[in-house]
Amino acid sequence: MDALTTILNGVPATLGLTLAALALGAALGVPLVVLRRSGNRLVAGFARLFIELLRGIPPIVWLFIIYFGVGTTVKLSSWTAATVGLGLISAAYMAEIYRGGLNAMHAGQWDAAHALGLSRTAIITRVIGPQLVRVSIPASASFAIGLLKDSSVAYTIGIPEITSAAREVSQNSVDAMVPFLLAAGVYVAITIPCAWAARRLDTVLRSRVAR
């Protein structure tokens, strides 16, 4: 069988895992940043500790803790373990990205929204949220590209993604070079257009709303 075809068969798993973890992280990052910015110092401190723990432990160790450790008491599929593991790490990074964006936002935006009598929900969804998404795009894109590469650790718990496919080809063909170079090429073929698209999107939005 063609080595490249086999490796390309790993692309859906890599993309699927990356997108699922990113979506989980983007969603969980919201409550996490709210807790992190809480006026209650105990709550804020706890959220900060949680974020630092998630960011301080290597992804592979997290996956092992969840899949082999937690997996002994709760039945977890490798997909669930990988998505939850990378999703939690993403939540920590996304919370920090959101926090940076919120800190950069002019306090006057909240003042104006409050003075207009907008409800809390409206302020978040119509005023602060859209601006936050925009300022978070560059950092989120860098993180997403890193996550796509980090998703390769999921091969250790049996997810049939790009690296795992390359390893399989390598073992079957006793070629340690070509399959991994092909895998590298496939990763780059995904990350470079993503980086380019993110930059382009950022430029377009920036030119519209630049202050």
Binding site: H106, G108, Q109, D111, A112, A113, H114, A115, L116, G117, L118, S119, R120, A122, R126, V127, P130, Q131, R134, R208, V209, A210, R211
Partner: protein, 253 residues
């Protein structure tokens, strides 16, 4: 003399401090309907804090605020309902404009009309265009605020506040971020608004505006109102030494 107009805004014994720093020290103020009140004084006097307390962007430690019949006591827990009731009656304009940069000029003026007053898109658009025309910017409706000069942005901010049909307007140093030429176009809009009988409270360093447009000048220093009266009196024969000093500095420029 005509009969005195009813009180629109009444602030009673307002106190506010940040830690050891007292920014409002027992401040009381009355503004009558249709009256233009200018608040002047050295920086750090508490002018902006007083203004921001009127619509509760700043929560006072104690005291009472009454705006056109809505009463809020600092001692009570202020619920979102009474907060919105009060804020609906007053519009506010800020030194830094604070337009929403991700929305077009038109959307800036229609957003709160739809979300707060429940107007439909057509009603809100019509009202917004009418107000943009009034401030001389109907051709900017589809632009983003970043494409407008500071003076234009501030006029849009005034239109945005007026769109909710407020019964009083608060201006927090509306021209301080603008160079004189742009400041002038904003002041012209404010004069027009005053002529139409809008109740206005203006924190300002524009002494000419305070002198020519306002009916009452309030002088603040160190968190207190040290003097207030008609501009002709405050500017020509101030009773307080501190006022005299402040005026001699700002009028000599």
């Amino acid at each position: 003399m005509s009969t005195p107009r009813p009180v629109a805004i009444r602030v009673t014994d307002l106190k506010k401090s940040y830690g050891a720093l007292t920014v409002l020290d027992d401040v009381s103020l009355e503004v009558r309907e249709g009256e233009v009140t200018a608040i002047i004084g050295p920086s750090g006097a508490g002018k902006s804090t007083l203004l921001r307390s009127i619509n509760l962007l700043e929560e006072p430690d104690s005291g009472e605020i009454e705006v056109l019949g809505s009463v809020v006591r600092a001692a009570d827990r202020i619920g979102p309902k009474s907060l919105n009731e009060l804020r609906r009656k007053v519009g506010m304009v800020f030194q830094s404009f604070n337009l929403f940069p991700h929305l077009t000029v038109l959307r800036n003026v229609t957003l709160a009309q739809e979300l707060v007053l429940g107007r439909d898109k057509k009603q809100a658009d019509d009202r917004a265009r009418e107000l943009l025309k009034r401030v001389g910017l109907e051709d900017k409706a589809d632009q983003y605020p970043s494409r407008c000069s500071g003076g234009q942005q501030q006029r849009i901010a005034i239109a945005r506040a007026l769109a909710l049909d407020p019964r009083a307007m608060l201006f927090d140093e509306p021209t301080s971020a603008l160079d004189p030429e742009l400041a002038n176009e904003v002041l012209l809009v404010m004069r027009k608004l005053a002529d139409e009988g809008m109740t206005m409270v203006v924190v300002t360093h524009e002494m000419r505006f305070a002198r020519e447009v306002s009916e009452t000048v309030v002088v603040m220093a160190d968190g207190r109102i040290i003097e207030q009266g008609k501009p002709s009196q405050v500017f020509t024969e101030p009773t307080h030494e501190r006022t005299r000093k402040f005026l001699s500095v700002v009028l000599d420029r």
